[in-house]
């Protein structure tokens, strides 16, 4: 990099701080304030401090971008503010130590555009997230916002809008993948004086935050998409159902609604047309099942959020018995782009049956966790190893779970599979609303199935028998297996229960809840068998099946483990080999963590007996060479 000359802050620069929920919890509000104060104190007339919504790279938060250069700062703290202001904003010399470091090459990357996490993505839904101030409608308008709505109202009939969306191949991004245009058409053609347009923003999958970030980072695109949808199907009332645990999203959507009404993009006679739409925000009360469309509508009606059987479908009898259409946040955020750039443009991305892009919340054992948007059909390997930067700590990849808590776990042999609705379903998993959890060799697949089932079991509404009782029975069996109390017949029982719950449950929650168990039984049956037959956890993860031992030929008798053991179950003395009382040990792993690396005296094993003395004996091991420090 060439050293820049000091320009005394006269150069026009804007520093955008991320104010998504993740970065705010990393104190980005305080950072913004500190930056404003410092910029004012230094009297830098050309420098502006602004904020954006989520950039998606929450792993590196709080993040900031300095434009126009496009310098990207990661893991910024309040203490970094003076240096950023003095060195970069005043003197034009970027702060190198805050650059993002590539997890693979360990190379510092100054520019946003060069970061693999970003430049491998193709952003349609998230096109504005991290790029504009979500609390200013003018920013959205400046990017061409509300032009698509204008085009629909002035140049297109509702039928033409539906046709365009149908031709684009857009499918529901909430998980089911039903063609969006067809859904609109059903609702448009359903007889009824009042129709409702509903946006499903009740994102509840653990670890997923695609919808939240879209609403926090670019609320107007959701409103514009919703208004176009309402126009297409002839609806004058709309609801956005946002879970109340998303206070920032609720706040920004409410603000966007207000601004949009003031500008005449919502309300009566929008843009001088005879089309009117009023949108209400309804806050969900925290039930995962309310993401299911019929449960969501029951909740809006003030009833207990429980799904009901279909038919009748919401398109003919939905909210308050009226024809209703319900779309996910991401589907709606895509609509303005399809109208602006055309169905053919959109359909040119993706696979034959799955068009466009999809957003994933990439988490788990992955170097770059965060929000990514990729074209449909991209292989899983590319997502995990290129965008995601691979598995940290040179661990081995074991499985990837897609589709939220009800998705399946796919093994390495599926890494070259394209990511689309059909391929994932064929593999026993699903697209879902976009969770993607990566697991490495230290993840126990039985335990992970148990975890996901404990979530769906707790979130089952309780209405239908298979989901309410069946998932509990499955969970009990899995807990038993993880405790080492599994019986050989448990595998068949799990399989049978899983299949019957899938076939017998009322809604998608129950119909998909067994997926994590069924896919792990399919791809990782050996792990179940090891737990049941050998009482062994191959990943050394299930607490009841592992043991810690101190190797007598390595222990130096330093006593660190003894002092740190919370269960006080280690016996030993200075220069004596320490011994763990296996009866009292709680298997917390503290001894393994604290044993100095150069000794490496503590081992973790499962179903394996390590030869150790019963009582402390004098240390015989030779002292390892002193470390470099």
């Amino acid at each position: 990099m060439t050293a820049a000359k000091p320009d005394n802050g006269n150069k026009q620069r804007t520093i955008f701080i991320c104010q998504g929920t993740g970065c705010i919890s990393g104190k980005s509000l305080e950072i913004t304030e500190a930056l404003k104060k410092a910029v004012a104190e230094h009297g830098l007339p050309g420098v502006k401090v602004d904020f954006t919504g989520c950039h998606g790279f929450c792993e590196q938060g709080p993040v900031a971008i300095v434009e126009p250069e496009g310098i990207f700062y990661a893991c910024v703290s309040v203490a970094d503010v003076p240096e950023i202001v003095e060195s970069h904003l005043r003197d034009g010399k970027p702060v190198e130590r805050l650059f993002y470091k590539d997890p693979v090459s360990d190379e510092a990357i100054p520019y946003h555009k060069d970061i693999k996490f970003y430049n491998m993505q193709q952003r349609i839904i998230l096109r504005n997230c991290g790029r504009l101030n979500p609390e200013r409608i003018e920013d959205y308008i400046a990017t061409g916002g509300y032009e698509s709505l204008k085009k629909c109202l002035k140049e297109m009939t509702p039928e033409q809008v539906i046709e365009e969306v149908k031709r684009s191949g857009l499918r529901g991004r909430g998980g089911a993948g039903f063609p969006t245009g067809m859904k609109w058409e059903f609702c448009r053609n359903a007889p009824g004086d009042q129709k409702y347009m509903i946006c499903n923003a009740d994102e509840g999958d653990p670890g997923a935050f695609m919808d939240r970030s879209t609403m926090e980072g670019d609320p107007h695109t959701v409103l514009e998409g919703m208004t176009i949808a309402a126009y297409a199907m002839g609806s004058s009332e709309g609801y956005i159902y946002i879970r109340a645990e998303y206070p920032l999203a609720v706040k920004r959507v409410r603000l966007a609604l207000k601004q949009s009404e003031e500008k005449g993009f919502l309300g009566d006679n929008i843009m001088g047309s005879d089309f009117s739409l009023h949108i209400h925000v309804k806050e969900g009360a925290g039930a995962f099942v309310c993401g299911e469309e019929t449960a969501l509508m029951a909740s809006i009606e003030g009833k207990r959020g429980m799904p009901r059987s279909r038919p009748p479908f919401p398109a003919t009898s939905g909210l308050w018995g009226k024809p209703s259409n319900i779309n996910n946040v991401k589907s709606l955020a895509t609509v303005p782009v399809i109208i602006a750039k055309g169905a053919d443009w959109y359909a040119s991305t993706g696979t034959e049956k799955s068009k466009g892009t999809c957003v994933f919340a990439l988490t788990g054992k992955i170097a770059n966790s965060g929000l990514i948007e990729v074209p449909m059909g991209i292989p899983l390997r590319k997502i995990i190893y290129e965008i995601g930067g691979g598995i940290p700590g040179s661990k081995k990849f074991k499985a990837v779970q897609t589709g939220g808590p009800s998705g399946g776990c796919l093994p390495e042999s599926y890494l070259d599979q394209p990511v689309d609705y059909e391929s994932l379903a064929a593999a026993g998993s699903m697209m879902g609303s976009g969770g993607m959890v990566v697991m490495d060799e230290e993840t126990c697949m039985v335990d992970i199935a148990r975890y996901f089932l404990s979530f769906t079991q707790a979130e089952s509404c309780g209405k239908c028998v298979p989901c309410r009782i069946g998932t509990k029975q499955m969970l009990d069996i899995l807990e038993r297996i993880c405790r080492g109390e599994g019986q050989p017949e448990d595998i068949d029982l799990l399989q049978q229960l899983g299949e019957n719950i899938k076939a017998g449950s009322l809604c998608q929650l129950g119909q998909t809840a067994p997926n994590p168990v069924l896919t792990t039984l399919r791809y990782f049956r050996d792990e179940y068998e090891a737990h049941i037959n050998e009482k062994r956890c191959p990943a050394l993860s299930c607490v009841k099946l592992i043991s810690f031992y101190i190797l007598p030929d390595k222990c130096q008798g330093c006593g660190i483990c003894l002092r740190n053991c919370p269960a006080e179950c280690i016996a030993g003395d200075k220069r004596m080999v320490h011994v763990i009382d296996q009866e009292k040990c709680v298997r917390c792993g503290t001894c393994l963590e604290v044993c100095p690396e150069r000794f490496g005296a503590v081992v973790k094993v499962s179903a394996e007996k390590v030869d150790v003395p019963d009582e402390p004996i004098p240390v015989t091991a030779e002292k390892p060479a002193a470390s470099a420090t």
């Binding site: 509404c461 209405k463 069946g470």
Partner: protein, 369 residues
């Protein structure tokens, strides 16, 4: 009427548009097992026992929620259906005391017999007030479950016996929600609802307070619809015979069957054919009849006060006395008050007597006071 024709198990069936597949099957005497369906409640689809296969429909839709359409082809039994149906029933049984269901001696066992299988008293069908009147027993017999492949959950659940007329024993509850729907759809009270989520779901009042402290009006519509023995009367009894009558408590004219045993009223049942009530009753009709009819203090003949003492008299004697005394008054000298316990017809005749015979418009009614 708009008629449709559908095929169920190869049999052609005429049905009315608007019927569900279950109703169409029942109208043709085709049995489809169900526990959450009840004729006068909205379809629920919770027990998943009435699953069927329908041509051109995915999966196993429930007959109780699927509208019957013209030309529909339905199958109510197949290996796939039976497997899932049986699994759901086993799951229901895993949360219900059902040891007797698995016992081959069930028919011959009584509540005071010693159980040779050492089954806990609370787990025995024979001590349940709904024994032999239990829809779960019927369904188990039909599907043929004799053993459970999954463990039973015998953890005790709370019993609400605060209501003076009926008990809610959640240990026997299968969460079919008939009671909840009856309280909401039939009576419009909404005293009970499903509370909590998932496996922890239970029937509860607002704030999970005892029924007596809730807005429950004790009408017992929930109890009538309970398919098992979860909501049962405090004093359950099996009558020897039933007598059809009209409730005397108010003028609505609810038709009811009084169950009689040893010349005493032991039970009350709403008459589903009754035009005024269609089977429904209120707390007074359902739980208040036997108390006053069987009361030793109840008047059974007219009484006439003679020399300051009430003396039993015949109806002729009493009516003659009343006619004689009332005949002396006309117009504003007299007023007539009739009773809310009388029927509309009786009250009509009473005001006719006042206006035409006594010549007065001073007519009133105790329900308005």
């Amino acid at each position: 009427m708009d008629h449709i024709t559908l095929t169920i198990n190869g049999q052609e069936i005429k049905a009315t548009r608007g019927m569900t597949v279950l109703e169409a099957a029942q109208s043709a005497d085709i049995y489809v097992p169900t526990l959450c369906h009840y004729p006068d409640l909205e379809p629920y689809g919770g027990c998943r026992l009435c699953i069927v296969e329908i041509d051109k429909m995915r999966g196993l839709p429930t007959a109780c929620t699927t509208p019957a359409t013209d030309g529909m082809v339905v199958t109510t039994e197949s290996d796939a259906i039976n497997s899932v149906r049986r699994a759901s029933l086993e799951l229901i049984l895993s949360t219900h005391p059902c040891d007797c269901l698995e016992c081959h001696r069930r028919e011959r066992c009584g509540p005071y017999d010693i159980c040779l299988r050492h089954v806990a008293v609370t787990d025995r069908c024979v001590v349940c007030p709904s024994n032999n009147n239990c829809e779960l027993q019927e369904v188990v017999d039909y599907i043929g479950v004799h053993e459970l492949r999954i463990p039973r959950d015998t953890a005790p659940r709370t019993i609400d016996n605060s209501n003076p007329f009926f008990d809610l024993d959640r240990n026997r509850c299968i969460l079919c929600a008939r009671c909840v729907r009856a309280c909401q759809e039939i009576t419009g009270v909404g005293a009970i609802d499903m509370a909590y989520r998932g496996y922890g779901m239970k029937v509860a009042t607002f704030g999970d307070v005892p029924l007596l402290d809730s807005i429950c009006r004790s009408c017992g519509e929930c109890m009538v619809r309970c398919p098992v023995g979860a909501i049962t009367p405090k004093e359950p009894a099996v009558p020897e015979r039933e007598v059809k009558t009209v409730c005397t408590y108010c003028g609505v004219g609810c038709s009811m069957y009084l169950g009689v045993k040893d010349d005493k009223i032991v039970s009350v049942r709403g008459d589903e054919e009754g035009p005024a009530n269609q089977g429904r009753l209120c707390v007074k009709g359902r739980f208040g009849i036997a108390e006053f009819v069987n009361s030793s203090e109840r008047l059974t003949t007219p009484l006439i006060r003679k020399d300051g003492r009430l003396v039993e008299a015949s109806w002729d004697e009493a009516l003659a006395l009343v006619a004689d005394k009332l005949g002396k008054y006309r117009g504003d000298e007299v007023a007539v008050i009739s009773s809310a316990k009388s029927t509309t017809e009786d009250n009509y005749v009473m005001q006719k007597l006042a206006r035409v015979v006594l010549g007065t418009n001073n007519v009133d009614h105790c329900a308005r006071l």
